[in-house]
Symmetry: C2
Subunit: 160 residues, 2 copies
């Protein structure tokens, strides 16, 4: 199973080494890539700008891919993401592998959340925390959990 | 109100800039310091080693301080930390200021959790996520939330 992470705005300088390190570790277990798209600016982006951003996201997702949004627990205009323990998240990965999904795509949204067309193609929403985290930190926490998930599935030492 | 963060093991190189940046930002709002103690090694640390580590932690806490442990949601041998949204966490800070607490101390535990003597002096436990996070990342997420908490209380732009 291939895994793709789609996110907006390039990785901040202070996070580059950490993001690169976890990406490298994940690549030991699965085909993994990160697609980084330019973001529309600010939470007051116009409807038209949000729509364009969403189109760019959708262009990076194949119709056969299984899409999971990384979303806050209770955003204003949606049901919100489900929280997982690290073991449950590892089990989610295992389930998707068992279901012969060829590509699993995670998407981290912009400052205003996700445009409706992105919600429409998503199968699930995952929340990393009840806390509101900056996007750069969401990226790092997600990558660490993806790596941790594989170590859990392999019964390796990293997880305790 | 002074705020102290007690944690084990020095900050990893890749996290240094981020930890320094958030510490600096927090210091704009409150007296803040981090106390970093050496950790006993591994999750199989002996009872005696854990006890010594706990004594070092306790030596950095005044009897008048209000102690909050940063703990996993459901660790094996305790009730576990309560999850907060960023706004709720900001309100927790405000409550402690309103209660004229002179020093608020947060403690991030070691690989095996906390020794009983540390639990004994704690008033509350906070969990940052259902996910198991590495200690370095707990430190970063906590500092970011502490900074975010103050921006929320001040109605500043950072939070949305």
């Amino acid at each position: 199973m291939k895994i793709r992470l789609i996110c907006l705005n390039k990785t901040a300088k202070e996070y580059e080494n950490l993001v690169a390190e976890y990406s490298k570790r994940i690549a030991r277990y699965t085909k993994f890539d990160m697609v980084i798209l330019p973001a529309v600016k600010g939470i007051n982006a116009s409807e038209e700008q949000q729509k364009k951003e969403a189109e760019k996201i959708l262009a990076k997702i194949q119709s056969t891919s299984y899409v999971i949004l990384l979303n806050e627990t209770k955003p204003i205009n949606s049901i919100g993401g489900k929280e997982y323990t690290s073991k449950q998240f590892a089990n989610l990965l295992q389930q998707k592998m068992n279901a012969s999904i060829s590509e699993l795509v995670f998407v981290i949204g912009g400052a205003y959340g996700f445009y409706q067309s992105v919600y429409d193609i998503a199968k699930e929403q995952v929340s990393l925390s009840k806390l509101t985290l900056p996007h750069q930190l969401v990226r790092l926490v997600f990558l660490e959990q993806l790596y941790r998930g594989f170590t859990i599935l392999r019964g390796e030492k990293y997880h305790h």
